[in-house]
């Protein structure tokens, strides 16, 4: 019984991966327009027949589609995501260089926004209808309504241009020859604004979710029991009520992280932060087929991985699901 369920889950994941890879392969090729000519769009260069046929050959576009797909799968099995002839670099290298920056940004912001979202949500719901709750709610709804791109520009203007506290772009000061702690400090300074923007744009979602589910949980009998036992307030709030209220939040993480990876695109563009979002943007605007394919593959695998982790983790957080079947 348990075994067949596991087999089922694994099959579902494998099928998902296969279909996603298939679409990753197909979609960039379905983009209207000749991929090779698109690379030269907007440039004053005339593409000669000679150059054209050479580029078609380099990209393997002269071979039938199914052959291209099989080559793609074989390469992928070797951990090779292809070679970008626009960037003149291995796609794997390009992505691996960008990924750490995005992960740094996304995970730090995730932890910060989750922590503050949970605390604020719990406290707010506990004081439901009170002044602090109302104030927080209005504030959060306001922030939620401002697109992250606007927050970013606002931060950039205030803290970078007028106050001059933070650098305007990049992840480190280029060619500054900094080492050790100074390098770390430089990195943190560069991280501060994009991180603050991303975190701030994430907090309202977390806050609202936690607050709503907390409001419902507080009315549950077990909270009353906890109170009757004479437990301390923070214990009731965080160990009894919040522990249950947090469940929908975990369900949402998987979906949200996928959003964050795309959402980070705007923030990375404003702050010229060298992450995956910016790379995606460049790949699409340059019509860099192998790079687009590679990025899609990596982000798809990343989201799936996070989903698997959450599936596994969920049992720990909510033991009831183990018996739900």
């Amino acid at each position: 019984m348990m075994r067949s369920r596991k087999v089922k889950i694994v099959t579902v994941y494998l099928l998902t991966i296969f279909f996603l890879l298939f679409f990753n392969f197909l979609l960039p090729r379905l983009l209207p327009g000749d991929a090779i000519l698109a690379m030269y769009s907007g440039s004053e260069i005339l593409v000669t027949e000679e150059m054209y046929s050479e580029l078609v050959k380099l990209h393997g576009l002269d071979r039938p589609l199914h052959e291209q797909f099989i080559t793609y799968l074989i390469q992928l099995a070797h951990g090779d995501l292809g070679y970008s002839y626009i960037a003149h670099a291995s796609t794997t290298d390009l992505i691996m260089n960008a990924l750490p920056w995005t992960l740094l940004l996304v995970f730090t912001s995730f932890i910060l926004s989750a922590a503050s979202g949970i605390v604020l949500g719990v406290e707010s719901s506990w004081r439901r209808g009170g002044r602090i709750d109302k104030l927080l709610l209005v504030f959060m709804l306001l922030i939620d309504g401002i697109p992250s791109i606007a927050i970013g520009i606002l931060f950039l203007t205030i803290f970078s241009l007028y106050c001059g506290w933070f650098p305007t772009a990049g992840a480190v000061t280029p060619y500054s020859n900094l080492v050790g702690l100074a390098y770390l400090w430089d990195m943190l300074l560069h991280l501060a604004l994009p991180l603050a923007t991303l975190t701030l744009s994430q907090i309202p979602g977390d806050y609202l979710l936690i607050r709503n589910s907390m409001v419902l949980t507080i009315c549950e009998p077990f909270v009353l029991t906890a109170r009757a036992k004479g437990l301390k307030k923070y214990k009731i709030k965080y160990f009894h009520a919040a522990r249950n209220a947090i469940l929908p939040f975990f369900t949402r993480i998987g979906i949200r992280l996928a959003y964050v990876i795309t959402g980070v695109l705007f923030i990375e563009t404003i702050f010229a932060y060298p992450g995956l979002g910016l790379l995606t943007y460049e790949a699409i605007s340059n019509r860099d087929l192998p790079l687009m394919q590679g990025i899609l593959t990596v982000s798809v695998l990343l989201v799936l991985l996070i989903n698997i982790l959450i599936d596994l983790l969920y049992k720990k957080i909510d033991p009831r699901v183990e018996y739900a079947y």
Partner: protein
């Protein structure tokens, strides 16, 4: 314990002193240029992206035979003298004797001959060598280039664009597109390649001590990437960057030097001249009368631009015709012309056989250098054309899809744009007819209906007599403007700002850098300091060394790094020694 402590403190102080003294002694002059995109490919001929900024990043490392500056004449670079022998249809170039590659090898005539052979075998986007037959090194410093056809644009199109490659490195390179080894960055230009970081979009170059025109007075050249280049300028993170027209005054007030670009890029209305009624010259002329170019400049560019010449070549080019036909805004004249084609004016719309006159316009966010900018033109165009009774249907598409539709003739009108209209008039040929052995370009009208225009365009390419060529170029513009294979709308004005205290006087190259790149980043600006722009270059390189300023603006950060490391080391050490005791 106290002994160790003292020793450590002493060494720390010595270290700090040494650090600050070296920071003072190595007075490096560093220039930082900022742009939004950052990554334009590795700065090597075959690796740089095929757009202007990609070429610019490569041209600091690689020299060409000849070059251009802010005067109309072609100037010597690797070639000190040259001659065209018309009887043989050959070019002879005498190279400078003291040019060296960055690895110390001398630059010889064989390198030039090799480059031509190599680029004939491995096509290089910027240079089409169909008209070159072969090249031969006559002696160490003389190279002779045999042409297969007379090719008038040679000096600018090949001589001033083709980066010379070192034979001793490239002779073993079979696939130049895959060659990303250090050898790919060995050139003979004023700057040596130090680093390119794709992910951060940064480039680092270092002055080449043995450059044959003298060592550049800027020691270190860095390209950085900023989401907002203006902020980078204001914050001092960059010395030179593009700015928006609205900020020109602000920057001037803040003490920056602002330079306005020449008008070498045009927004252009592509016309499907194979389709009724656009196949009719009179109808195309009616469109030109119905279009108010000044309204585009006022509304779309907010005044920062110029109405375009109808002859495609920029009105600021050295090759602009003196009397290119003009179409001053005249909606009544447009209506008259349309009526003359058998259309009837009914309820403010022209109809023919009961069918209203309707045109589709493809619009996209096309901007300079393949960048995307918001489209403000299509609504203006729609308004203007609907005033003369033409119903307009706007279709918004991604730029590359518009390109594709234009190439496949699946359009009626399309708003497009391209540059290169300030350099050699070859652009008129490239953008009018389908150039043999090339793929259709989305900016080329592929107009083949006027024999006279074809003949003139042929002269434009093959006529070696400068006066006769000039005449052909003027006449070709006249016919182009009369027949209107496409309608040029306007030229936007670009602005760059730089900090004059940095000591570099940047300038726009007449006709654009190399083939016509309208970016004011000519390497010559870094070889000669500002005060003596037109003076002899050798003289300048000597004085250049004296106008330096310390590069390390904040020695606090590096020294605090040293301090931090040393103190960490000290704490660890003292803990350990504490344990021993």
């Amino acid at each position: 314990m106290t002994g160790i402590k003292q020793k450590l403190i002493l060494s720390l102080i010595i270290c700090l002193c040494m650090f600050s003294s070296t920071a003072g002694a190595v007075a490096e002059k560093e220039i930082r240029i900022s742009d939004k995109t950052g990554d334009w490919g590795h700065p090597s001929p075959y690796l740089a992206y095929s757009r202007g900024p990609g070429y610019i990043r490569m041209h600091f490392i690689f020299d060409t035979l000849v070059w251009k500056n802010e005067t109309p004449d072609i100037m010597p670079l690797l070639a000190e003298e040259w001659e065209y022998i018309s009887e043989e249809n050959t070019y002879v170039f005498n190279l400078v004797k003291n040019a060296k590659w960055h690895d110390g090898e001398p630059v010889t005539a064989r390198d030039v001959a090799f480059t031509i052979e190599y680029m004939k075998e491995h096509p290089y986007g910027w240079v089409v060598l169909n008209s070159v037959d072969r090249a031969e090194a006559i002696d160490e410093h003389t190279v002779k280039i045999y042409m297969s056809n007379p090719y008038a644009p040679f000096m600018e199109d090949i001589g001033g664009t083709m980066p010379i490659l070192p034979e001793h490195i490239w002779k073993d390179v079979e696939n130049p597109m895959d060659y990303v080894e250090p050898g790919a960055f060995i050139g003979s230009g004023p700057f040596k390649y130090i680093d390119f970081n794709k992910e951060h979009g940064t480039y680092q170059y270092e002055a080449f001590d043995e450059y044959y025109l003298g060592k550049p007075f800027v020691d270190s050249l860095i390209f950085v990437k900023n989401g907002d280049t203006q902020m980078a300028l204001q914050r001092g993170e960059a010395d030179f960057a593009p700015i928006t027209p609205e900020m020109v005054e602000t920057f001037r007030e803040d003490g920056f030097t602002v330079i306005a670009g020449p008008h070498y890029w045009n927004k252009k209305l592509m016309i499907n001249h194979n389709k009724e009624p656009l196949d009719n010259i009179v109808f195309r002329q009616a469109l030109a009368y119905a279009i108010d170019q000044d309204e585009f400049v006022d509304k779309s560019l907010r005044g920062h631009g110029k109405a375009a010449s109808y002859g495609l070549i920029s009105s600021e080019s050295l090759w602009a015709g003196p009397d290119v036909p003009d179409y001053p805004y005249d909606p009544d004249r447009a209506k008259e012309l349309i009526t003359s084609l058998g259309y009837e004016w009914k309820n403010n719309i022209f109809t023919k056989n009961g069918e209203p006159l309707k045109l589709d316009v493809l619009r996209s966010m096309i901007g300079i250098g393949g960048q995307t900018i918001p489209d403000r033109d299509s609504e203006i165009l729609k308004n203007q054309l609907e005033k003369v009774g033409i119903q307009i249907n706007l279709i918004s598409l991604e730029p590359k899809i518009v390109d594709n539709k234009v190439i496949n003739w699946e359009f009626e009108l399309a708003i497009s744009g391209h540059g290169g209209i300030g350099g050699d008039p070859k652009i008129l040929y490239d953008m009018t007819v389908q150039v043999p052995e090339t793929k259709a370009s989305p900016n080329t009208a592929r107009y083949n209906k006027s024999e006279e225009l074809n003949r003139l365009l042929d002269d434009l390419i093959h006529e070696m007599d400068p006066a006769k060529r000039r005449e052909a170029v003027f006449e070709a513009q006249n016919i182009y403007a009369r027949e209107l294979p496409a309608i040029s709308l306007y030229y936007p004005t670009g602005y760059y700002a730089y900090d004059p205290d940095a000591g570099v006087e940047w300038f726009y190259t007449v006709g654009g850098v190399s083939k016509g790149i309208p970016i004011p980043q000519n390497k010559l600006a870094l070889i000669r300091p500002n005060a003596q722009k037109s003076a002899d270059m050798e003289e300048i390189s000597e004085t250049a060394m004296q106008t330096e300023k310390p590069a390390s603006k904040t020695p606090i950060t590096p020294s605090s790094a040293v301090f931090a490391i040393l103190s960490a080391f000290y704490i660890k050490r003292s803990k350990r020694s504490g344990r021993i005791i």
